[in-house]
């Protein structure tokens, strides 16, 4: 990587002009992948030689508001202390994605006005949850571009475009859901299964660690979770027959501290839940971010589907620890307890959806709980001290793969929902689930509500021959998206809604409907709002108490991102990224054929009176 170190305004302008020229000659191909370019040397303005890599622009200006590095204690403290920032993917370790901003309310949200926007130059889903600290916003795009911009004006400070190989192993698009911050370090995981660290002010790369060889079927799309001095990151690859795991890396050095495999090896507990040698290709990827309870000092991580997805004939048994939540000692990586949501999954019901930490009132006592809208359609409550099952209720309007739930939290499967060579049953939810792990909900503890983006789309589950070759797709079947096909009236049976679940009771408080399945995250605010977006490209805000829509803006591209909010100089900002990936939209049953691709971040502002 090469610095651009020029002090004068004139030189900066020259750099910008040269850079613009380079960008124009180095635009992404149709997939959004930028070809690796050789460094270009430019001698101008007094003979000073500047060497520029087109994929890495570094900042030398004095930026930010002078705040110091992020400490571990700051990450532990609640989001409520930092209305001027958004320093974790989930807002805080509880993953509530709840902003303490009160100024923005159902009464004045109509006054939100456009502030600035940022194009990514890439296609594919723009799934980011930006982070904001010290007046700087850090944004990751599809195909692993990383931008540092002025959170107030959108001015670009530095940018890194990760060079990617052409033969990535992606099941579901070139997503990245965000960066993480600790000390003065920004962290980003990549589609080719690497973890990168940058100086937050200059953008200089500090280190790069390969998580694993991507061509064996691996990728990484999540924001890392920072716990103490560690960055925890898991891998995707559940459609490639990987053996899943998540790692912890020393943020200072990039060295791996521990690895936790999500499929046990021979002789380890849980090995007996796999027939034959199926554990070797058992999947159980760990592709989304976890949660951390600093009081219990427990890290919670979730796992995805066993491989192959829709044919379980060669992996008889419960297939531990797929579709589970694991409680982990963050210092050692050792498992303390587990709970499996979907034993022997044959529907691709990853257990990877967003975990919320809440306090459940149970009679006279309060239970520390995890609640989660699982991809299998149930809204779970689990004791997060010991993993005991508390409750599961449907958060969907259509759920038929399970007939009931046993007292111990084991679902009773509807035998007709099992995949077959000639399926006839519409299985609900479909393979993308009732809520997908690629998006995150939010929680308002004042209202005891969790706000969930829900997909209502059922599918036929068809079984085929599965064959495993390292690095190649290993799915064993397919979900047939019958609900995405228009009927005689031109309507598609699939639809979506934002559902408010009362996590104290497990009951639905309200639903806000949309014509298409929901594939964007939600943001909750203390002022009583819920922000999200639709696949048809509309951002919207709802009254958190009633679900009534109180604001809407057309952003142009389908929305797959996780909105955030922050304050600067007493003014409130809401950031929502727009940009879709048609493949996953279609799998969800959505009709977004007239929605253009291309990523664009929009920031709205509520000005002071």
């Amino acid at each position: 990587m090469t610095d651009i170190r020029i002090s004068s305004l004139i030189k900066n302008a020259a750099v910008i002009l040269v850079s613009l020229g380079l960008v124009a000659s180095c635009s992404p191909n149709e997939t959004g992948i930028v070809e690796d370019q050789p460094p270009a040397s430019n001698d101008f303005d007094g003979g000073e030689t500047i060497e520029i890599l087109t994929t890495h622009w570094i900042n030398s200006r004095d930026i930010g508001q002078g705040k110091g590095p992020i400490t571990s204690q700051m990450l532990v403290e609640s989001q409520s202390n930092y209305s001027d920032s958004w320093i974790q993917y989930g807002g805080d370790y509880a993953n509530h994605r709840h902003s303490p901003i009160k100024a923005l309310s159902p009464d004045n949200v109509k006054d939100l006005e456009f502030a600035w926007s940022l194009p990514t130059g890439t296609q594919g889903q723009f799934a980011v949850s930006p982070i904001v600290y010290d007046g700087i916003m850090y944004v990751t795009s599809s195909f692993n571009r990383l931008f540092a911009v002025d959170a107030k004006t959108g001015e670009l400070y530095w940018r890194y475009d990760h060079p990617l190989p052409q033969d990535l192993r992606l099941c579901c698009g070139p997503a990245n859901r965000g960066a993480s911050i600790h000390g003065d370090t920004i962290l980003m995981a990549t589609l080719d299964a690497k973890l990168l660290a940058f100086n937050r002010l200059t953008g200089e790369k500090l280190w790069e660690s390969e998580i694993i060889e991507y061509y064996k079927g691996f990728s990484a799309t999540s924001a890392p979770l920072v716990v103490k001095n560690l960055a925890v990151i898991g891998v995707g690859g559940g459609e490639f027959g990987i053996r899943g795991f998540f790692d912890a890396y020393d943020i200072e050095t990039g060295a791996r501290v521990w690895r936790h495999y999500t499929v046990p090896a021979e002789g380890e507990p849980g090995y007996e839940s796999w027939s034959g040698n199926s554990f070797e290709t058992g999947g159980a990827p760990a592709w989304t971010i976890g949660a951390y309870d600093s009081e219990l000092d427990l890290l919670y991580w979730t796992t995805g589907n066993p491989s192959p997805d829709w044919n379980g004939d060669a992996r008889l048994g419960d297939n531990l620890f797929s579709d589970s939540v694991l409680a982990i000692d963050p210092d050692s990586g050792e498992r303390k307890w587990y709970y499996q949501f979907t034993p022997h999954d044959v529907w691709d019901y990853d257990g990877n959806t967003h975990l919320f930490q809440v306090d459940l009132n149970q009679g006279e006592s309060v239970t520390k709980a995890l609640v989660q809208a699982n991809r299998n359609g149930f809204f779970y409550a689990i004791n997060r001290e010991n993993g005991e099952f508390i409750r599961a209720t449907s958060y969907m309007e259509q759920l038929n793969w399970a007939e009931s739930m046993e007292q111990n939290g084991r679902p009773v499967v509807n035998p007709e929902a099992m995949p077959s060579e000639e399926p006839t049953m519409r299985v609900c939810p479909g393979a993308l689930g009732g809520m997908n792990g690629s998006v995150s909900g939010s929680v308002n503890t004042s209202l005891n509500l969790a706000f969930l983006p829900v997909i209502e789309s059922c599918q036929l589950m068809q079984k085929g021959i599965s064959m495993h070759v390292e690095g190649q797709l290993f799915m064993g079947g397919l979900p047939v998206s019958v609900d995405g096909v228009s009927d005689e009236s031109g309507e598609t049976p699939s639809y979506g809604h934002i559902t408010a679940m009362n996590y104290q009771t497990g009951e639905v408080a309200w639903r806000h409907y949309d014509a298409e399945p929901m594939l964007a995250g939600t943001l909750s605010t203390e002022g009583g709002l819920v922000f999200s977006g639709s696949q048809t490209g509309h951002a919207f805000a709802l009254n958190a108490e009633t679900g009534e829509e109180v604001w809407r803006a057309r952003l142009g591209g389908g929305i797959r991102s996780q909105p955030i909010a922050y304050e600067i100089d007493g003014e409130s900002y809401v950031a929502i990224a727009s940009g879709n990936f048609g493949g996953i939209s279609a799998f969800s049953g959505a009709d977004t054929s007239i929605i253009p691709e291309g990523g664009q971040l929009y920031v709205f502002k509520l000005s002071r009176e």
Binding site: Q462, G464, M467, G583, A586
Partner: protein, 123 residues
Amino acid sequence: MTLKKKLIIIFAGLSLLSCENDGANSSPADEYLNDSEALKRGRLLFVGTCAGYCHKLTPERSDAPYLFDCQWLHGGSDEEIYTVVTGGVSGTRMIAFGENFPEGAKDLWKIIAFLKSNRSTCS
């Protein structure tokens, strides 16, 4: 060169020409078009490996091409399909499979036969 040698060369040349003509008109997939078991295996392999989150059995919206119509991005002949599957398409989710099927190339030709037998009539 003796007459005998000349005749051998002529016959050898005719023989090669004959092989080339056969190759231009048929492919190994054609052997399976009337074999119901082979077509079923081709379908199950397609369902289990190609269709999951990619090529659909019905014309659903997807970033991966629908393979039962007449629109081909990289050619629709049996040999061209074979080349795409074995070699992949750079910059897309279509990775190279080689001949890594349970029964090697035979299975790939059965998949192609399944596609061919269910394709729309193309003018």
